[in-house]
Amino acid sequence: MAAHQEDVEALVAEREYEAGFVTDLESDTIAPGLNEDVIRFISGKKDEPEWMLEWRLEAYRQWKQMKSPKWPHLHYAPIDYQKISYFSAPKSSAGKPKSLDEVDPKLLETYAKLGIPLHEQEMLAGVEGASYPRSNNVAVDAVFDSVSVATTFKGKLKDAGVIFCSISEAIQEHPELVKKYLGSVVPRGDNFFAGLNAAVFTDGSFVYIPKGVRCPMELSTYFRINAENTGQFERTLIIAEAGSHVSYLEGCTAPQRDENQLHAAVVELVAEDDAEIKYSTVQNWYPGDENGKGGIFNFVTKRGDCRGARSKISWTQVETGSAITWKYPSCILTGDDSVGEFYSVAVTRGMQQADTGTKMIHIGRNSKSTIIAKGISAARGEQAYRGLVKILPSAANARNFTQCDSLLIGDKCGAHTFPYVESRNSTAKLEHEATTSKIGEDQMFYCLQRGLTEEDAVSLIVNGFCKDVFKELPMEFAVEAQKLLDVTLENAVG
C-alpha cells in the first residue's frame, strides 16, 4: 500500500519545464534599485505625459508607507526591493516597431518556440508544435520583460471599434480613457503589491469594447519574463461598455533560473450595464526546482467591477507555475442583478506554495456569485484557498455558492481552506461546500486493472477532478490546460 503511494508521488515529483529557456539578446536594463528617479526613468522611457508620472510618484509615496502582508499562508525570505531591476527591454524594441518585419527575429523565434504565433498569416494557418492555443480567432499582445513587442489583428479589431493595444500605447493614444479608469477598481494604495505596481508598472494590455459590441475574436496577452534579476510589473485594463462582450486570455512563462524573480501585476476590469467579461488565465511561470530553488514570486491583484446592472465578470484560472502564488481575482458586484464567477484550478508540487482564492463583494440587489476552486497538492506543495464572500446591507436577495475541493497526492503536501463570510443582509442566501480527498488507491488500481499506465491513471483522475473548471475555459485553452496539467504531473521516468 505504502509502496504504491510512493509510486504515485514519484509520478509527480519531477517534470520538465519546457518554457525554461533564455533568449540571448541585447537588452536595455536599468541598474537594480527603486527611487523616484527610477520611476522618472521608466516614465521617460515610455514618453509618458506629466499626469502619468505624477500618478506613479504618488503611488510610490504611498507604497513607501506600506508593509507587505503577513497574513498569507506562505513562507519566503523577505524580498529586497532595492535588488530588483525595474525596467528591461530588448534593445531592438527602442522606438517601437511599426510592423512585425521590424521586430527582432530573436523575439519572434522566442514566441514561435513557445508556440505563440505573431504573424497573422501563420495564425490563420496554425503553427506546427504550438503549445499555446492555436486558433485563427485569437488576437495576441506579446509582452517581453517590460515592453509589449507586438499586437496582432489590430486592424480587424479596429474595424469592429475594439481597441486592443499595450497600456503604454493607450496612455499615448487614449489618455482620456486611461485617466478615467486606471486605478478606479484597484486604487494605488489598495495593497502593498498593487501600490508597487502602480509606481513602476511597465507594460500590459489595454482593451476597450464600445457599447453593444461583441468582440469578434478572443483577445490574449502572452507575458514572458526573460532578463535576469528583473521584476515584471504589468498592468492590464479592460473596459466593457454597456451591452458589450469580450473573452480575454492570458498566458505566462519564464526561463529556468536559480534566483527568484518578482512578478507583481494588477488587472482591472470594468463591466457596464449588461456587459460581460470572461477572463481566463493559464499561469505557467517557472516554479523553481524540486528543492525550492528559483522560481517566480507571483503577487497579483486582479479585480473586476460589475458596475452596471446585469453585468457579468467571470474569472477562470489554471495556476500551475510560480514558486509562490498570491492571487485573489475578485468581483465587486455593484450593479443590480450582476453576476460574478470564479473558477480555479491550482496545482502545487515540488516546493511550490499558493495562497489563492477570490473575493465576492455583493452590493447590488439580486447579485449572484459562484466560486468553484479546485486545489491539487503533490510532493511538498502547500496550498491555501482563501475566499471572502461579503454581502452589504444593500444587496437584498444576494446569492453565493462556494465549492472548494482539494486533492492530495502523497502525504507530505498540504491543503488549507480559509473561507470568510460576512453577511449584512438577512435575505441573502449562501452555500458553502468543501471536500478534501486523496487520489485513492482504489481509483488508481481500478484504472490500472483496466490497462491504463500509472501516468495515464493519475492524469485521468486529476482531469476528472478539474472538469468543472476546465469546461469554463475557451475550447482551445481547455485542451492546452489539460495538456499542461499532464506535463505538470508527468513522470520523468516515463
Binding site: L448, Q449, G451, I461, N463, C466, K467
Partner: protein, 253 residues
C-alpha cells in the same frame, strides 16, 4: 490458460492464501466458493496484481507468462479482467472516456493503432443493449451516483467491451435483484468460448443456476479443500460450509 501452484499471500504480515493449487483450462468456467474470510477475494486481487497483497510463495502461469512478474496494467493488457466487488467512483471521468482509454491502452500495448471514434461508439451501442444500460448512463462519471446493481452492470458492460481472455469476477452477483443477476449471467455466458476462461468468486449458488460452471472449488482458510462438478454447489447449498473443518483435516493429513 491459468495454472496456480502453491500460492501463498499475506496482507500486513497476516497469511491469507496458504498454498493454492488450481488449474483452469481454456474455455472453462470455474466457480470458487467458500465462507467469508476464506480468501476468495484475495485470490482474485492477487491474480489481478493488487499491491497490498504480498505473495510469499508459489507461482502463477497465465498463457505463456509468469503472471506475478507482470504489472497490473500489463496483466490487463494481456487479457486479465477483474470485475470488482466494490467498483469505485471516479468523479468527472465519464465511463466512456475510461473505456476508450482502456481499449487504446491495450491496443498500444499490442502495437496497434487507436480505435476510431465511430467504431468505438458502434461497439458501445451494441454492448449497452446487452446489459440494459442507457447511453446517458455510460456518459456519466465512472460509477458516479450508480446504485449497487448499476455498478455491477457497468462491470459486465466493461467486460463485454474489453473481451478478456481471463475474467475474474469477484462477487459480481452479490446484492443483485433477479433482473440484474440475469444480466450479469447473460454477460458471462456471452463471453463463453473455447479461448476464454472465467473465474466466478461467489458466496451463493444463486448465480450458478444461470451460469453453469465446469468446475466448482471450495476455498477454506486459504486453501482449496474440495473440488467437483456443478453438483458440488448443490451439496454446499444443502449442507452449508459447516463440514469444511473435517474436510480441511482430511486434506492436510
Amino acid at each position: 490458460m491459468l495454472s496456480i501452484k502453491n500460492l501463498h499471500a499475506e496482507v500486513d504480515g497476516k497469511p491469507i492464501l496458504r498454498g493454492i493449487n488450481l488449474d483452469i483450462p481454456a474455455g472453462e468456467i470455474h466457480a470458487i466458493m467458500g465462507p467469508n474470510g476464506s480468501g476468495k477475494s484475495t485470490l482474485a486481487s492477487v491474480l489481478a496484481g493488487r499491491e497490498e497483497y504480498e505473495v510469499t510463495q508459489g507461482s502463477v502461469t497465465y498463457k505463456n507468462h509468469k503472471l506475478l512478474e507482470l504489472d497490473p496494467n500489463e496483466r490487463a493488457c494481456e487479457g486479465v479482467f477483474l470485475g470488482f466487488q466494490y467498483p469505485v467512483e471516479i468523479p468527472g471521468v465519464s465511463n466512456l472516456y475510461l473505456l476508450r482509454a482502456a481499449i487504446n491502452a491495450r491496443r498500444k500495448y499490442h502495437g496497434e493503432p487507436e480505435i476510431a471514434a465511430i467504431d468505438f461508439m458502434k461497439l458501445v451501442q451494441e454492448k449497452i443493449d446487452y446489459v440494459g444500460m442507457s447511453m446517458d448512463m455510460v456518459k456519466r462519471g465512472v460509477n458516479e451516483d450508480f446504485s449497487g446493481g448499476e455498478k455491477k452492470r457497468n462491470e459486465i458492460f466493461q467486460m463485454l467491451m474489453l473481451e478478456p481472455t481471463l475474467a475474474l469476477l469477484d462477487e459480481t452477483d452479490s446484492g443483485l435483484d433477479i433482473d440484474a443477476l440475469k444480466v450479469v449471467a447473460d454477460g458471462i455466458n456471452r463471453l463463453r468460448s473455447p479461448e476464454r476462461s472465467t473465474v466466478l468468486v461467489t458466496h451463493y449458488k444463486r448465480l450458478l443456476e444461470y451460469v453453469v460452471p465446469d468446475r466448482v472449488h471450495v476455498l477454506y482458510k486459504g486453501q482449496i479443500v474440495r473440488s467437483g462438478g456443478p453438483e458440488l454447489a448443490d451439496t454446499l447449498e444443502a449442507e452449508g460450509y459447516a463440514n469444511l473443518e473435517t474436510d480441511e483435516t482430511a486434506a492436510t493429513s
